[in-house]
Protein backbone atom coordinates (compact mmCIF):
# COMPACT_ATOMS: atom_id res chain seq x y z
CA UNK A 1 0.00 0.00 0.00
CA UNK A 2 1.07 3.49 -0.75
CA UNK A 3 1.00 4.89 2.72
CA UNK A 4 2.44 2.08 4.77
CA UNK A 5 5.84 3.70 5.38
CA UNK A 6 4.61 7.22 6.08
CA UNK A 7 5.04 7.43 9.82
CA UNK A 8 4.04 10.71 11.35
CA UNK A 9 2.30 12.01 8.23
CA UNK A 10 -1.29 12.79 8.87
CA UNK A 11 -2.52 11.25 5.68
CA UNK A 12 -0.98 7.92 6.69
CA UNK A 13 -4.25 6.57 8.00
CA UNK A 14 -6.82 8.05 5.64
CA UNK A 15 -10.15 8.47 7.35
CA UNK A 16 -12.19 7.55 4.32
CA UNK A 17 -15.78 6.83 5.10
CA UNK A 18 -16.56 3.30 4.01
CA UNK A 19 -13.30 1.91 2.69
CA UNK A 20 -10.29 2.53 4.84
CA UNK A 21 -7.45 2.72 2.35
CA UNK A 22 -8.09 3.96 -1.16
CA UNK A 23 -5.75 2.90 -3.99
CA UNK A 24 -4.31 6.40 -4.33
CA UNK A 25 -1.31 5.39 -6.45
CA UNK A 26 -3.42 3.34 -8.82
CA UNK A 27 -5.88 6.17 -9.34
CA UNK A 28 -3.12 8.73 -9.77
CA UNK A 29 -1.45 6.57 -12.42
CA UNK A 30 -4.66 5.87 -14.35
CA UNK A 31 -5.23 7.35 -17.78
CA UNK A 32 -8.61 8.74 -16.68
CA UNK A 33 -7.11 10.68 -13.78
CA UNK A 34 -4.36 12.08 -15.95
CA UNK A 35 -6.96 13.14 -18.49
CA UNK A 36 -8.92 14.88 -15.72
CA UNK A 37 -5.82 16.79 -14.60
CA UNK A 38 -5.06 17.79 -18.19
CA UNK A 39 -8.61 19.01 -18.70
CA UNK A 40 -8.42 21.09 -15.54
CA UNK A 41 -5.05 22.52 -16.44
CA UNK A 42 -6.26 23.43 -19.92
CA UNK A 43 -8.86 25.67 -18.31
CA UNK A 44 -7.23 26.88 -15.11
CA UNK A 45 -3.88 28.05 -16.53
CA UNK A 46 -5.20 30.20 -19.41
CA UNK A 47 -8.11 31.49 -17.27
CA UNK A 48 -5.72 32.60 -14.52
CA UNK A 49 -3.33 34.25 -16.97
CA UNK A 50 -6.28 35.98 -18.62
CA UNK A 51 -7.79 37.51 -15.50
CA UNK A 52 -4.43 38.54 -14.06
CA UNK A 53 -3.52 40.33 -17.30
CA UNK A 54 -7.00 41.84 -17.68
CA UNK A 55 -7.04 43.07 -14.09
CA UNK A 56 -3.53 44.55 -14.00
CA UNK A 57 -4.13 46.26 -17.34
CA UNK A 58 -6.42 48.58 -15.36
CA UNK A 59 -3.93 50.05 -12.85
CA UNK A 60 -1.26 49.99 -15.57
CA UNK A 61 -3.32 51.95 -18.12
CA UNK A 62 -4.77 54.30 -15.52
CA UNK A 63 -1.33 54.91 -14.01
CA UNK A 64 0.83 55.18 -17.12
CA UNK A 65 -1.60 56.24 -19.85
CA UNK A 66 -3.95 58.62 -18.06
CA UNK A 67 -4.70 60.67 -21.19
CA UNK A 68 -6.00 57.65 -23.04
CA UNK A 69 -8.13 56.58 -20.07
CA UNK A 70 -9.63 60.03 -19.56
CA UNK A 71 -11.10 60.11 -23.06
CA UNK A 72 -14.87 60.34 -22.94
CA UNK A 73 -16.93 57.56 -24.40
CA UNK A 74 -20.52 58.48 -23.72
CA UNK A 75 -21.58 61.69 -22.01
CA UNK A 76 -19.15 62.18 -19.14
CA UNK A 77 -18.38 58.47 -18.92
CA UNK A 78 -14.70 57.83 -19.70
CA UNK A 79 -12.64 54.75 -20.59
CA UNK A 80 -11.20 54.55 -17.08
CA UNK A 81 -14.64 54.06 -15.50
CA UNK A 82 -15.92 51.76 -18.25
CA UNK A 83 -12.84 49.55 -18.06
CA UNK A 84 -13.14 49.37 -14.26
CA UNK A 85 -16.82 48.46 -14.56
CA UNK A 86 -16.04 45.84 -17.22
CA UNK A 87 -13.87 44.04 -14.63
CA UNK A 88 -17.02 43.10 -12.70
CA UNK A 89 -18.61 41.52 -15.78
CA UNK A 90 -15.31 39.86 -16.71
CA UNK A 91 -15.19 38.27 -13.24
CA UNK A 92 -18.82 37.08 -13.40
CA UNK A 93 -18.43 35.72 -16.92
CA UNK A 94 -15.22 33.88 -16.12
CA UNK A 95 -16.87 32.44 -13.00
CA UNK A 96 -19.76 31.20 -15.15
CA UNK A 97 -17.34 29.55 -17.61
CA UNK A 98 -15.52 27.98 -14.69
CA UNK A 99 -18.73 26.55 -13.24
CA UNK A 100 -19.67 25.10 -16.63
CA UNK A 101 -16.22 23.55 -17.08
CA UNK A 102 -16.18 22.24 -13.51
CA UNK A 103 -19.48 20.42 -14.04
CA UNK A 104 -17.69 18.38 -16.71
CA UNK A 105 -14.81 17.62 -14.32
CA UNK A 106 -17.29 16.49 -11.67
CA UNK A 107 -18.70 13.95 -14.12
CA UNK A 108 -15.22 12.72 -15.11
CA UNK A 109 -14.22 12.40 -11.45
CA UNK A 110 -17.39 10.50 -10.56
CA UNK A 111 -16.88 8.07 -13.46
CA UNK A 112 -13.29 7.38 -12.54
CA UNK A 113 -14.09 6.85 -8.87
CA UNK A 114 -16.94 4.50 -9.79
CA UNK A 115 -14.48 2.44 -11.81
CA UNK A 116 -12.12 2.07 -8.86
CA UNK A 117 -14.87 1.19 -6.42
CA UNK A 118 -15.72 -1.96 -8.34
Amino acid sequence: MASGDQKGREGATPQVAGSNVAPWEQIAASAEFKALLRAKRRFIVPATVFFVVYYFALPYLVGYHPDLMQRKVWGEMNWAYLFALSQFFMAWLLAAFYVAAAAGWDRKAAELLAKFRQ
Binding site: A2, E10, P14, I27, A47, G63, G75, M77, L94, L113
Partner: protein, 514 residues
Amino acid sequence: MNTALFMFLAFVAATLVITYFSAKKSTGTSAYFAAGRRITGWQNGLAVAGDYMSAASFLGIAGMIAFNGYDGFMYSVGFLVAYLTVLIIVAEPLRNAGKYTMADVLAYRLKPRPVRAMASLSTLTVSIFYMIAQMVGAGTLVRQLLPGVSYEMAVVGVGVLMVVYVVFGGMLATTWVQIIKAVLLMSGSLFLSVLVMSKFNFSLTNFFQSVSAVTFTGPDGAPVTRNFLTPGLLFKNPLDQISLGLALVFGTAGLPHILIRFYTVPDAKTARASVVWAMILIGVFYIMTTFFGFGAASLLGPDHMKAHGGTNMAAPELARFLGGEVFFAFISAVAFATILAVVAGLTISASTSFAHDFFTNVIHHGREHRPGEEVRVARITAFVVGALAIIIAILLGPTVNVAFLVGLAFAVAASANLPVIIFSIFWKRFNTTGAVCGLAVGLVASIALILVSPDFMKQPLFPLKNPGIVSIPLGFLAAFLGAMIRREPEAEAKFAELSVRANTGLGAEKATIE
Protein backbone atom coordinates in the same frame (compact mmCIF):
# COMPACT_ATOMS: atom_id res chain seq x y z
CA MET B 1 -33.74 56.22 23.29
CA ASN B 2 -31.47 57.00 20.36
CA THR B 3 -32.84 55.32 17.18
CA ALA B 4 -29.44 54.03 16.02
CA LEU B 5 -28.76 52.49 19.42
CA PHE B 6 -32.19 50.86 19.37
CA MET B 7 -31.61 49.34 15.93
CA PHE B 8 -28.21 48.15 16.95
CA LEU B 9 -29.60 46.51 20.08
CA ALA B 10 -32.25 44.77 17.96
CA PHE B 11 -29.47 43.27 15.82
CA VAL B 12 -27.55 42.19 18.92
CA ALA B 13 -30.68 40.60 20.40
CA ALA B 14 -31.39 38.66 17.19
CA THR B 15 -27.83 37.36 17.00
CA LEU B 16 -27.84 36.33 20.67
CA VAL B 17 -31.00 34.30 20.11
CA ILE B 18 -29.24 32.57 17.20
CA THR B 19 -26.20 31.95 19.36
CA TYR B 20 -28.40 30.36 22.02
CA PHE B 21 -29.93 27.91 19.53
CA SER B 22 -26.56 27.23 17.86
CA ALA B 23 -25.03 26.45 21.23
CA LYS B 24 -27.66 23.78 21.81
CA LYS B 25 -26.88 22.25 18.40
CA SER B 26 -23.10 22.60 18.48
CA THR B 27 -22.02 19.35 20.05
CA GLY B 28 -18.88 17.71 18.75
CA THR B 29 -15.73 19.04 17.16
CA SER B 30 -16.91 19.20 13.57
CA ALA B 31 -20.10 20.97 14.69
CA TYR B 32 -18.13 23.57 16.62
CA PHE B 33 -15.38 24.29 14.06
CA ALA B 34 -17.22 23.67 10.79
CA ALA B 35 -20.93 23.97 11.62
CA GLY B 36 -21.22 20.22 10.98
CA ARG B 37 -20.37 20.94 7.28
CA ARG B 38 -24.09 21.33 6.66
CA ILE B 39 -24.23 24.96 5.50
CA THR B 40 -25.76 25.24 2.01
CA GLY B 41 -24.20 26.97 -1.00
CA TRP B 42 -26.20 30.19 -0.90
CA GLN B 43 -25.96 30.42 2.89
CA ASN B 44 -22.20 30.08 2.77
CA GLY B 45 -22.09 32.54 -0.15
CA LEU B 46 -23.85 35.11 2.02
CA ALA B 47 -21.56 34.28 4.91
CA VAL B 48 -18.40 34.63 2.78
CA ALA B 49 -19.69 37.97 1.55
CA GLY B 50 -20.50 38.92 5.15
CA ASP B 51 -17.03 37.94 6.34
CA TYR B 52 -15.45 39.94 3.54
CA MET B 53 -17.42 43.17 3.32
CA SER B 54 -15.93 44.84 6.36
CA ALA B 55 -16.48 48.33 7.65
CA ALA B 56 -13.42 49.20 5.58
CA SER B 57 -15.34 48.36 2.43
CA PHE B 58 -18.65 49.85 3.38
CA LEU B 59 -17.62 53.06 5.10
CA GLY B 60 -14.02 53.23 3.92
CA ILE B 61 -14.57 52.81 0.19
CA ALA B 62 -17.69 54.98 0.17
CA GLY B 63 -15.60 57.69 1.82
CA MET B 64 -12.65 57.20 -0.48
CA ILE B 65 -14.85 57.56 -3.57
CA ALA B 66 -16.65 60.50 -1.99
CA PHE B 67 -13.34 62.32 -1.39
CA ASN B 68 -11.10 61.04 -4.20
CA GLY B 69 -13.52 59.88 -6.86
CA TYR B 70 -12.36 57.27 -9.32
CA ASP B 71 -9.28 56.08 -7.41
CA GLY B 72 -11.49 54.90 -4.56
CA PHE B 73 -13.46 52.78 -7.00
CA MET B 74 -10.22 50.95 -7.88
CA TYR B 75 -10.42 49.26 -4.47
CA SER B 76 -13.90 47.99 -5.30
CA VAL B 77 -12.64 46.36 -8.50
CA GLY B 78 -9.73 44.58 -6.79
CA PHE B 79 -11.93 43.26 -4.00
CA LEU B 80 -14.15 41.41 -6.48
CA VAL B 81 -11.55 40.19 -8.99
CA ALA B 82 -9.74 38.63 -6.01
CA TYR B 83 -12.50 36.03 -5.83
CA LEU B 84 -11.41 34.56 -9.16
CA THR B 85 -8.24 33.39 -7.43
CA VAL B 86 -10.36 31.88 -4.66
CA LEU B 87 -12.76 30.21 -7.09
CA ILE B 88 -10.37 28.94 -9.74
CA ILE B 89 -7.32 28.00 -7.71
CA VAL B 90 -7.93 27.54 -4.00
CA ALA B 91 -11.48 26.76 -2.82
CA GLU B 92 -12.11 23.24 -4.08
CA PRO B 93 -8.75 21.57 -3.43
CA LEU B 94 -8.79 23.11 0.03
CA ARG B 95 -12.26 21.74 0.80
CA ASN B 96 -11.39 18.32 -0.57
CA ALA B 97 -8.11 17.86 1.25
CA GLY B 98 -8.59 19.72 4.52
CA LYS B 99 -10.53 19.43 7.75
CA TYR B 100 -10.71 22.68 9.74
CA THR B 101 -7.86 25.01 8.75
CA MET B 102 -5.64 26.04 5.86
CA ALA B 103 -2.74 24.19 7.50
CA ASP B 104 -4.56 20.85 7.10
CA VAL B 105 -3.80 20.90 3.39
CA LEU B 106 -0.13 21.72 3.96
CA ALA B 107 0.30 19.13 6.71
CA TYR B 108 -1.04 16.42 4.45
CA ARG B 109 2.23 15.53 2.82
CA LEU B 110 4.69 17.74 4.67
CA LYS B 111 5.99 17.31 8.21
CA PRO B 112 2.99 18.44 10.23
CA ARG B 113 4.64 20.03 13.25
CA PRO B 114 6.91 22.71 11.71
CA VAL B 115 4.40 23.46 8.94
CA ARG B 116 1.44 23.79 11.29
CA ALA B 117 3.40 25.89 13.77
CA MET B 118 4.34 28.37 11.03
CA ALA B 119 0.90 28.35 9.39
CA SER B 120 -0.71 28.92 12.77
CA LEU B 121 1.62 31.84 13.45
CA SER B 122 0.76 33.46 10.13
CA THR B 123 -2.98 32.83 10.66
CA LEU B 124 -2.85 34.39 14.12
CA THR B 125 -0.89 37.36 12.77
CA VAL B 126 -3.35 38.02 9.95
CA SER B 127 -6.43 37.52 12.15
CA ILE B 128 -5.29 39.55 15.14
CA PHE B 129 -3.97 42.51 13.15
CA TYR B 130 -7.10 42.60 11.03
CA MET B 131 -9.23 42.30 14.15
CA ILE B 132 -7.52 45.17 15.95
CA ALA B 133 -8.06 47.34 12.87
CA GLN B 134 -11.76 46.50 12.95
CA MET B 135 -12.06 47.16 16.69
CA VAL B 136 -10.31 50.51 16.56
CA GLY B 137 -12.57 51.33 13.62
CA ALA B 138 -15.63 50.28 15.63
CA GLY B 139 -14.61 52.41 18.58
CA THR B 140 -14.03 55.54 16.50
CA LEU B 141 -17.20 55.12 14.51
CA VAL B 142 -19.44 54.49 17.43
CA ARG B 143 -18.57 57.83 18.97
CA GLN B 144 -20.00 59.48 15.88
CA LEU B 145 -22.82 57.04 15.20
CA LEU B 146 -24.14 56.60 18.73
CA PRO B 147 -23.63 59.76 20.74
CA GLY B 148 -23.16 58.99 24.41
CA VAL B 149 -21.20 55.78 23.86
CA SER B 150 -17.47 56.26 24.41
CA TYR B 151 -14.62 54.69 22.43
CA GLU B 152 -13.73 52.35 25.29
CA MET B 153 -17.34 51.25 25.81
CA ALA B 154 -17.69 50.47 22.11
CA VAL B 155 -14.48 48.47 21.99
CA VAL B 156 -15.42 46.47 25.10
CA GLY B 157 -18.95 45.94 23.74
CA VAL B 158 -17.74 44.61 20.39
CA GLY B 159 -15.12 42.45 22.12
CA VAL B 160 -17.55 40.91 24.59
CA LEU B 161 -20.16 40.18 21.92
CA MET B 162 -17.70 38.51 19.57
CA VAL B 163 -16.43 36.32 22.40
CA VAL B 164 -20.01 35.32 23.26
CA TYR B 165 -20.80 34.35 19.64
CA VAL B 166 -17.63 32.35 19.19
CA VAL B 167 -17.34 30.74 22.62
CA PHE B 168 -20.96 29.65 22.90
CA GLY B 169 -22.20 29.40 19.34
CA GLY B 170 -19.09 28.28 17.44
CA MET B 171 -19.04 28.28 13.67
CA LEU B 172 -22.81 27.87 13.30
CA ALA B 173 -23.61 31.05 15.22
CA THR B 174 -20.79 32.93 13.51
CA THR B 175 -22.13 31.87 10.13
CA TRP B 176 -25.64 33.10 10.91
CA VAL B 177 -24.32 36.40 12.24
CA GLN B 178 -22.56 36.83 8.87
CA ILE B 179 -25.69 35.92 6.93
CA ILE B 180 -27.93 38.42 8.75
CA LYS B 181 -25.30 41.11 8.43
CA ALA B 182 -24.85 40.46 4.70
CA VAL B 183 -28.60 40.74 4.11
CA LEU B 184 -28.77 43.99 6.13
CA LEU B 185 -25.75 45.45 4.35
CA MET B 186 -27.00 44.55 0.88
CA SER B 187 -30.49 45.93 1.49
CA GLY B 188 -29.17 49.10 3.13
CA SER B 189 -26.79 49.73 0.24
CA LEU B 190 -29.46 49.02 -2.36
CA PHE B 191 -31.89 51.40 -0.71
CA LEU B 192 -29.21 54.07 -0.44
CA SER B 193 -28.30 53.67 -4.12
CA VAL B 194 -31.92 53.90 -5.24
CA LEU B 195 -32.41 57.07 -3.18
CA VAL B 196 -29.28 58.59 -4.75
CA MET B 197 -30.45 57.81 -8.26
CA SER B 198 -33.92 59.17 -7.53
CA LYS B 199 -32.24 62.56 -7.06
CA PHE B 200 -31.06 62.30 -10.67
CA ASN B 201 -34.42 61.05 -12.03
CA PHE B 202 -32.77 57.64 -12.48
CA SER B 203 -30.72 59.01 -15.36
CA LEU B 204 -27.13 57.76 -15.49
CA THR B 205 -26.29 60.63 -17.84
CA ASN B 206 -27.40 63.20 -15.28
CA PHE B 207 -25.63 61.30 -12.52
CA PHE B 208 -22.26 61.19 -14.27
CA GLN B 209 -22.74 64.78 -15.45
CA SER B 210 -22.96 65.85 -11.84
CA VAL B 211 -20.03 63.65 -10.73
CA SER B 212 -17.85 65.16 -13.46
CA ALA B 213 -17.94 68.58 -11.79
CA VAL B 214 -17.63 68.44 -8.01
CA THR B 215 -16.74 71.70 -6.33
CA PHE B 216 -14.97 71.91 -2.99
CA THR B 217 -12.63 74.17 -1.06
CA GLY B 218 -9.04 73.56 -2.09
CA PRO B 219 -6.04 73.55 0.26
CA ASP B 220 -5.50 77.28 -0.31
CA GLY B 221 -9.08 78.12 0.63
CA ALA B 222 -10.26 78.86 -2.92
CA PRO B 223 -13.03 76.75 -4.45
CA VAL B 224 -11.84 74.02 -6.81
CA THR B 225 -13.91 72.07 -9.33
CA ARG B 226 -12.73 68.59 -10.23
CA ASN B 227 -13.97 65.80 -12.47
CA PHE B 228 -14.37 62.93 -9.98
CA LEU B 229 -14.31 60.40 -12.80
CA THR B 230 -10.68 61.29 -13.48
CA PRO B 231 -8.06 58.86 -12.18
CA GLY B 232 -5.12 60.09 -10.15
CA LEU B 233 -6.79 62.22 -7.46
CA LEU B 234 -5.58 59.81 -4.75
CA PHE B 235 -2.80 57.62 -6.16
CA LYS B 236 0.13 59.63 -7.43
CA ASN B 237 2.46 56.69 -7.94
CA PRO B 238 1.04 54.00 -10.29
CA LEU B 239 3.22 51.37 -8.61
CA ASP B 240 1.28 51.97 -5.39
CA GLN B 241 -1.89 50.89 -7.13
CA ILE B 242 -0.31 47.87 -8.76
CA SER B 243 1.18 46.77 -5.45
CA LEU B 244 -2.16 47.16 -3.69
CA GLY B 245 -3.86 45.27 -6.52
CA LEU B 246 -1.42 42.39 -6.09
CA ALA B 247 -2.08 42.20 -2.36
CA LEU B 248 -5.86 42.24 -2.89
CA VAL B 249 -6.01 39.77 -5.77
CA PHE B 250 -3.61 37.25 -4.22
CA GLY B 251 -4.25 38.01 -0.55
CA THR B 252 -7.95 37.19 -0.44
CA ALA B 253 -7.21 33.57 -1.33
CA GLY B 254 -4.91 33.41 1.70
CA LEU B 255 -7.17 35.07 4.29
CA PRO B 256 -7.76 32.42 6.96
CA HIS B 257 -11.24 33.64 7.93
CA ILE B 258 -12.39 33.31 4.31
CA LEU B 259 -10.68 29.94 3.75
CA ILE B 260 -12.18 28.24 6.82
CA ARG B 261 -15.66 29.04 5.48
CA PHE B 262 -15.19 26.35 2.81
CA TYR B 263 -15.06 23.68 5.50
CA THR B 264 -18.60 24.50 6.58
CA VAL B 265 -20.20 23.10 3.41
CA PRO B 266 -20.80 19.42 2.57
CA ASP B 267 -18.47 19.12 -0.45
CA ALA B 268 -16.28 20.89 -3.02
CA LYS B 269 -19.20 21.40 -5.37
CA THR B 270 -21.05 23.37 -2.69
CA ALA B 271 -17.85 25.29 -1.92
CA ARG B 272 -17.73 26.27 -5.59
CA ALA B 273 -21.39 27.30 -5.57
CA SER B 274 -20.82 29.38 -2.44
CA VAL B 275 -17.95 31.31 -4.07
CA VAL B 276 -20.22 32.05 -7.02
CA TRP B 277 -22.97 33.31 -4.70
CA ALA B 278 -20.42 35.40 -2.86
CA MET B 279 -19.12 36.85 -6.15
CA ILE B 280 -22.62 37.89 -7.20
CA LEU B 281 -23.29 39.60 -3.85
CA ILE B 282 -19.86 41.17 -3.52
CA GLY B 283 -19.91 42.35 -7.15
CA VAL B 284 -23.34 43.95 -6.85
CA PHE B 285 -22.29 45.57 -3.59
CA TYR B 286 -19.08 47.05 -5.00
CA ILE B 287 -20.86 48.32 -8.12
CA MET B 288 -23.27 50.08 -5.75
CA THR B 289 -20.32 51.85 -4.12
CA THR B 290 -20.37 53.89 -7.37
CA PHE B 291 -23.79 55.24 -6.50
CA PHE B 292 -23.34 56.02 -2.85
CA GLY B 293 -19.68 56.99 -3.12
CA PHE B 294 -19.99 59.30 -6.11
CA GLY B 295 -23.47 60.23 -4.86
CA ALA B 296 -22.03 61.53 -1.59
CA ALA B 297 -19.43 63.49 -3.57
CA SER B 298 -21.95 65.21 -5.79
CA LEU B 299 -24.97 65.54 -3.46
CA LEU B 300 -23.18 66.44 -0.21
CA GLY B 301 -19.78 67.54 -1.49
CA PRO B 302 -16.42 66.98 0.21
CA ASP B 303 -16.74 70.20 2.25
CA HIS B 304 -19.93 69.08 3.96
CA MET B 305 -18.48 65.66 4.70
CA LYS B 306 -15.28 67.14 6.10
CA ALA B 307 -17.40 69.15 8.51
CA HIS B 308 -19.52 66.11 9.42
CA GLY B 309 -17.25 63.31 10.53
CA GLY B 310 -14.82 62.99 7.61
CA THR B 311 -14.10 60.07 5.27
CA ASN B 312 -15.72 57.26 7.22
CA MET B 313 -19.01 59.09 7.68
CA ALA B 314 -19.78 59.64 3.98
CA ALA B 315 -22.31 56.79 3.72
CA PRO B 316 -24.18 57.51 6.99
CA GLU B 317 -24.24 61.26 6.26
CA LEU B 318 -25.61 60.57 2.78
CA ALA B 319 -28.30 58.42 4.39
CA ARG B 320 -29.21 61.25 6.75
CA PHE B 321 -29.41 63.68 3.84
CA LEU B 322 -31.58 61.38 1.72
CA GLY B 323 -33.71 59.52 4.24
CA GLY B 324 -33.63 61.47 7.48
CA GLU B 325 -32.72 60.37 10.99
CA VAL B 326 -34.30 56.92 10.82
CA PHE B 327 -32.34 55.95 7.71
CA PHE B 328 -29.18 57.42 9.25
CA ALA B 329 -29.80 55.24 12.29
CA PHE B 330 -30.36 52.18 10.10
CA ILE B 331 -27.17 52.69 8.06
CA SER B 332 -25.21 53.33 11.27
CA ALA B 333 -26.54 50.14 12.82
CA VAL B 334 -25.66 48.24 9.63
CA ALA B 335 -22.12 49.60 9.80
CA PHE B 336 -21.78 48.47 13.39
CA ALA B 337 -23.28 45.05 12.65
CA THR B 338 -20.75 44.77 9.84
CA ILE B 339 -17.83 45.31 12.16
CA LEU B 340 -19.20 42.92 14.75
CA ALA B 341 -19.71 40.13 12.22
CA VAL B 342 -16.25 40.49 10.69
CA VAL B 343 -14.64 40.51 14.12
CA ALA B 344 -16.51 37.31 15.06
CA GLY B 345 -15.31 35.63 11.85
CA LEU B 346 -11.72 36.62 12.60
CA THR B 347 -11.94 35.39 16.18
CA ILE B 348 -13.13 31.96 15.17
CA SER B 349 -10.41 31.62 12.53
CA ALA B 350 -7.73 32.58 15.04
CA SER B 351 -9.00 30.28 17.77
CA THR B 352 -9.58 27.33 15.41
CA SER B 353 -6.05 27.63 14.12
CA PHE B 354 -4.56 27.84 17.60
CA ALA B 355 -6.57 24.91 18.97
CA HIS B 356 -6.42 22.63 15.93
CA ASP B 357 -3.00 23.44 14.47
CA PHE B 358 -0.94 24.52 17.41
CA PHE B 359 -2.40 22.87 20.49
CA THR B 360 -3.57 19.51 19.16
CA ASN B 361 -1.13 18.94 16.33
CA VAL B 362 2.06 20.72 17.35
CA ILE B 363 2.03 20.29 21.13
CA HIS B 364 0.08 17.06 21.40
CA HIS B 365 1.30 15.38 18.18
CA GLY B 366 -2.16 15.17 16.67
CA ARG B 367 -3.94 13.40 19.50
CA GLU B 368 -6.65 14.71 21.74
CA HIS B 369 -5.86 13.63 25.30
CA ARG B 370 -9.48 13.93 26.34
CA PRO B 371 -12.53 14.04 24.08
CA GLY B 372 -13.66 17.58 23.37
CA GLU B 373 -10.31 19.01 24.40
CA GLU B 374 -9.73 20.78 21.06
CA VAL B 375 -13.04 22.62 21.30
CA ARG B 376 -12.34 23.58 24.90
CA VAL B 377 -8.95 25.00 23.94
CA ALA B 378 -10.56 26.93 21.06
CA ARG B 379 -13.10 28.46 23.46
CA ILE B 380 -10.38 29.52 25.86
CA THR B 381 -8.36 30.92 22.95
CA ALA B 382 -11.34 32.91 21.70
CA PHE B 383 -11.68 34.38 25.16
CA VAL B 384 -7.98 35.26 25.37
CA VAL B 385 -7.89 36.65 21.81
CA GLY B 386 -10.95 38.77 22.57
CA ALA B 387 -9.44 40.13 25.77
CA LEU B 388 -6.13 40.87 24.03
CA ALA B 389 -7.84 42.65 21.15
CA ILE B 390 -9.86 44.78 23.60
CA ILE B 391 -6.75 45.76 25.55
CA ILE B 392 -4.64 46.53 22.46
CA ALA B 393 -7.45 48.50 20.80
CA ILE B 394 -7.93 50.58 23.96
CA LEU B 395 -4.18 51.14 24.38
CA LEU B 396 -3.80 52.21 20.73
CA GLY B 397 -6.66 54.62 21.19
CA PRO B 398 -9.05 56.08 18.64
CA THR B 399 -6.51 58.17 16.75
CA VAL B 400 -4.16 55.47 15.48
CA ASN B 401 -4.00 54.96 11.72
CA VAL B 402 -5.38 51.49 11.14
CA ALA B 403 -5.09 51.36 7.36
CA PHE B 404 -1.67 49.75 7.60
CA LEU B 405 -3.06 46.92 9.75
CA VAL B 406 -5.51 45.89 7.03
CA GLY B 407 -2.85 46.31 4.35
CA LEU B 408 -0.62 44.10 6.46
CA ALA B 409 -3.28 41.40 6.75
CA PHE B 410 -3.72 41.20 2.98
CA ALA B 411 0.02 41.40 2.31
CA VAL B 412 0.85 38.61 4.79
CA ALA B 413 -1.95 36.47 3.39
CA ALA B 414 -0.69 36.95 -0.17
CA SER B 415 3.04 36.67 0.57
CA ALA B 416 3.09 33.93 3.22
CA ASN B 417 -0.07 31.82 2.84
CA LEU B 418 -0.85 31.75 -0.86
CA PRO B 419 2.56 30.57 -2.19
CA VAL B 420 2.66 27.55 0.12
CA ILE B 421 -1.00 26.66 -0.52
CA ILE B 422 -0.45 26.72 -4.28
CA PHE B 423 2.86 24.86 -4.23
CA SER B 424 1.65 22.13 -1.91
CA ILE B 425 -1.41 21.44 -4.05
CA PHE B 426 0.19 21.69 -7.49
CA TRP B 427 3.91 20.99 -7.19
CA LYS B 428 5.08 17.47 -6.44
CA ARG B 429 8.64 18.49 -5.53
CA PHE B 430 7.40 20.90 -2.80
CA ASN B 431 8.46 19.99 0.74
CA THR B 432 8.62 21.00 4.40
CA THR B 433 11.69 23.22 4.00
CA GLY B 434 9.96 25.09 1.19
CA ALA B 435 6.79 25.61 3.22
CA VAL B 436 8.62 26.85 6.31
CA CYS B 437 10.85 29.17 4.24
CA GLY B 438 7.88 30.52 2.24
CA LEU B 439 5.76 31.18 5.32
CA ALA B 440 8.61 32.73 7.29
CA VAL B 441 9.96 34.95 4.51
CA GLY B 442 6.48 36.04 3.39
CA LEU B 443 5.52 36.94 6.96
CA VAL B 444 8.75 38.74 7.85
CA ALA B 445 9.09 40.54 4.50
CA SER B 446 5.58 41.98 4.56
CA ILE B 447 5.79 43.09 8.20
CA ALA B 448 9.26 44.59 7.73
CA LEU B 449 8.32 46.48 4.58
CA ILE B 450 5.21 47.91 6.23
CA LEU B 451 7.27 49.05 9.23
CA VAL B 452 9.51 51.12 6.91
CA SER B 453 6.66 52.29 4.62
CA PRO B 454 5.09 55.78 4.45
CA ASP B 455 2.28 54.55 6.75
CA PHE B 456 4.78 54.13 9.55
CA MET B 457 7.76 56.42 8.91
CA LYS B 458 8.09 60.10 8.13
CA GLN B 459 11.08 59.39 5.88
CA PRO B 460 10.13 55.96 4.55
CA LEU B 461 12.84 53.52 3.48
CA PHE B 462 10.28 51.76 1.27
CA PRO B 463 8.27 54.12 -0.93
CA LEU B 464 5.02 52.14 -1.33
CA LYS B 465 2.12 51.91 1.10
CA ASN B 466 1.56 48.26 0.29
CA PRO B 467 4.50 45.82 0.22
CA GLY B 468 2.78 43.31 -2.12
CA ILE B 469 4.83 43.97 -5.24
CA VAL B 470 8.02 43.00 -3.39
CA SER B 471 6.86 40.67 -0.63
CA ILE B 472 4.64 38.40 -2.77
CA PRO B 473 7.43 37.47 -5.24
CA LEU B 474 9.75 37.06 -2.22
CA GLY B 475 7.30 34.63 -0.62
CA PHE B 476 7.05 32.56 -3.81
CA LEU B 477 10.81 32.68 -4.32
CA ALA B 478 11.59 31.59 -0.75
CA ALA B 479 9.10 28.71 -0.98
CA PHE B 480 10.62 27.65 -4.29
CA LEU B 481 14.26 27.91 -3.22
CA GLY B 482 13.54 26.26 0.12
CA ALA B 483 12.03 23.31 -1.71
CA MET B 484 15.02 23.10 -4.03
CA ILE B 485 17.57 22.91 -1.19
CA ARG B 486 16.92 19.26 -0.50
CA ARG B 487 14.53 16.57 -1.63
CA GLU B 488 11.96 15.04 0.68
CA PRO B 489 10.96 11.65 -0.74
CA GLU B 490 8.14 11.19 1.81
CA ALA B 491 6.47 14.42 0.70
CA GLU B 492 6.84 13.48 -2.96
CA ALA B 493 5.45 10.00 -2.31
CA LYS B 494 2.32 11.47 -0.73
CA PHE B 495 1.68 13.80 -3.66
CA ALA B 496 -0.34 11.19 -5.55
CA GLU B 497 -2.71 10.85 -2.62
CA LEU B 498 -3.11 14.60 -2.13
CA SER B 499 -3.63 15.14 -5.83
CA VAL B 500 -6.31 12.44 -6.05
CA ARG B 501 -8.05 13.80 -2.96
CA ALA B 502 -7.88 17.43 -4.10
CA ASN B 503 -9.08 16.69 -7.63
CA THR B 504 -11.72 14.03 -7.07
CA GLY B 505 -12.97 14.65 -3.53
CA LEU B 506 -12.29 11.01 -2.64
CA GLY B 507 -11.95 10.69 1.12
CA ALA B 508 -13.01 14.29 1.78
CA GLU B 509 -14.47 15.13 5.19
CA LYS B 510 -18.20 14.43 5.16
CA ALA B 511 -21.05 16.43 6.61
CA THR B 512 -22.24 15.14 9.97
CA ILE B 513 -25.58 13.42 10.02
CA GLU B 514 -28.07 14.82 12.43
